[in-house]
Symmetry: C2
Subunit: 340 residues, 2 copies
């Protein structure tokens, strides 16, 4: 049940290679940031680099710090400050991941060797705190109150978004608007801050700072919507996490919200049992996927994501054409059209 | 088995009333800080003030923010910056408490309605993150890079200390030195930062800043040692937590470390079973308390605490006599001699 999104052939190709191209454009910086990350997660307490290394090395695409590096390049910045700040963005992201994975006893059955499954809840929380504090130390070393304001604000909004998500979980009455508020807070704000910082270190005018913030925020919303689609649609091996996790955890994401709104009373009572009552049974995931397919909610969720992608695209109109600008545009397609 | 510490009568009296007197000396500031705390833990997500309120209101003595207020007064500061920074210190402390209480599934049996028992691990972690981020927002509003450096550094050291404590748990080979390093990092650094900030906002010379840091650090070490003593010695109702928690959780604290070092092989094998193997049985707490009594380790731990108290006392020698200086001195006795 992989999501296939029609895209003209040439745009499809650049979407596929977009992250590779963008990473290549800032390759030296990425190496420097990786070194910085490894150096700054060191500690006399061995458990810290062990656990942090598990999640940071296991690694991921480093999308957020790469956005900081690319935005700096787009703004013509040629100093060194963006390196520390990119590491800082990755530390905040990693801390959030670690804390996201902390679960209550009843949830301990989820699949996959997450950090908390390997090291325990306590260690995940505390190492997350360490990375978060380290992020602030890096910002303080940078010394700019503007950057500190942007990132401390983003951190507070992220935490608020995570709590909001917790409050909407297991509540099938969650609206699309409430979902969007969660997505904006827990995911998009860090994308926005990561991009905006590029203009700040380069000392660019307010309009460019705002444009990059708009780009990041809307890219981040699109990114999260697609992530939530993939939780129901992806090919297990490519996703790198268990398909159906969101359903099992009672998370209210767009594919489900739309299916509930479009469904009949019998279907809603199914959703209420699985989500509100957390009474998850064998066969519930395929049934949920059937309903999602019947109402085409994955396709429509991707359409919503495209809308935010379009806003992100227009925001970059302010900047003259350049390879990095093109790569940032292609990243939008990559984000919306990715299948993994 | 309450710890009775011999103290000359007059000093005993002032110790008892010390916190009351100190709080009274900065009463207006304490009120302002309490209001600030309530205002700044507000959020459009109701769970945040609910949970944060549970732990902040349930409240405690506000010892750390009061130290910031008192240190500012000691330094003759008459502005408003110390109020926000005191709130910030309390937020960091509260976030730490929330994260401390997050436990692994196997530990969920512990007594007492901690926040995580009432609201769940996830909520405790995320609201802790929110308070921590809010603390940084408050610092950024203050705008001083010096303050930001002190507190971001303290936060990283605290997190490191918490992980270090986790690494020493269930390890009966933990040395007194390793214990001291944990105590210094997880507890004393925030006391040190809280006090030091008073000199920073008042723009006092380096020597006074250092003196207040020394006072706070050593007061904090004494405070934690006594806390660890009380876990074996206190009268249950006064402690406000369950006597014996540390033993059940395999925490390596000074009373136990000294008893292990002074014990015979049979006793050590008892400690290894309870601590290293986490094989805790009925009757283990009374037996542990017997061993602790046999080797007088509570009294000796308190003696160690007094040593740090003496260092804290001398640090204040730099400041001219005043009611607030006297109250800060009495707080040392209060910390070391308290029975609750």
């Amino acid at each position: 049940m992989a999501t296939i999104i029609p895209l003209e052939q040439s745009r499809r190709k650049s979407a596929d290679r977009a992250l590779e191209v963008l990473t290549g454009l800032v390759a030296d910086d990425v190496r420097a940031v990786n070194q910085l990350i490894i150096r700054r997660m060191e500690s006399r307490v061995p458990l810290i680099p062990q656990l942090a290394g598990h999640i940071i090395a296991a690694g991921g695409k480093r999308l957020r710090p790469i956005l900081t590096l690319a935005a700096s390049k787009l703004c013509g910045y040629d100093g060194q400050r963006h390196l520390k700040l990119a590491a800082c963005v990755e530390f905040i992201h990693t801390a959030t991941l670690l804390h996201d994975d902390v679960v209550d006893a009843s949830d301990l059955r989820r699949g996959g060797p997450s950090a908390n499954a390997l090291f325990g809840n306590e260690a995940s929380v505390l190492v997350g705190d360490f990375l978060f504090s380290r992020a602030f130390e890096l910002m303080v070393e940078d010394g700019s109150i503007d950057v500190l304001r942007i990132l401390s604000n983003a951190s507070a909004v992220i935490a608020e978004g995570e709590v909001l998500q917790l409050s909407t979980a297991h509540n099938s009455a969650t609206s699309e608007q409430a979902y969007l508020e969660v997505v904006r807070a827990k995911t998009a704000e860090l994308f926005a801050a990561a991009c905006r910082i590029g203009a700040v270190v380069a000392g660019r005018p307010q309009a460019e700072e705002e444009a990059l913030r708009t780009y990041g925020l809307n890219l981040g919303i699109a990114f999260q919507i697609v992530d939530d689609v993939l939780d129901y649609a992806a090919v297990q091996e490519r996703l790198g996490k268990t398909v159906g996790d969101d359903l099992r955890e009672g998370k209210m994401t767009l594919p489900v919200i739309l299916a509930i709104h479009r469904g009949n009373e019998a279907e809603r009572s199914f959703w209420r049992r699985v989500l509100d009552e957390a009474d998850y049974r064998d066969g519930d995931l395929p049934h949920a996927q059937d309903l999602i397919r019947r109402y085409n909610t994955l396709r429509d969720a991707i359409d919503r994501a495209r809308h935010y992608g379009a806003i992100a695209r227009d925001a970059l109109g302010l900047f003259p054409d350049s390879p990095v600008r093109q790569a940032l545009l292609d990243i939008i397609d990559f984000t919306v059209e990715r299948e993994f």
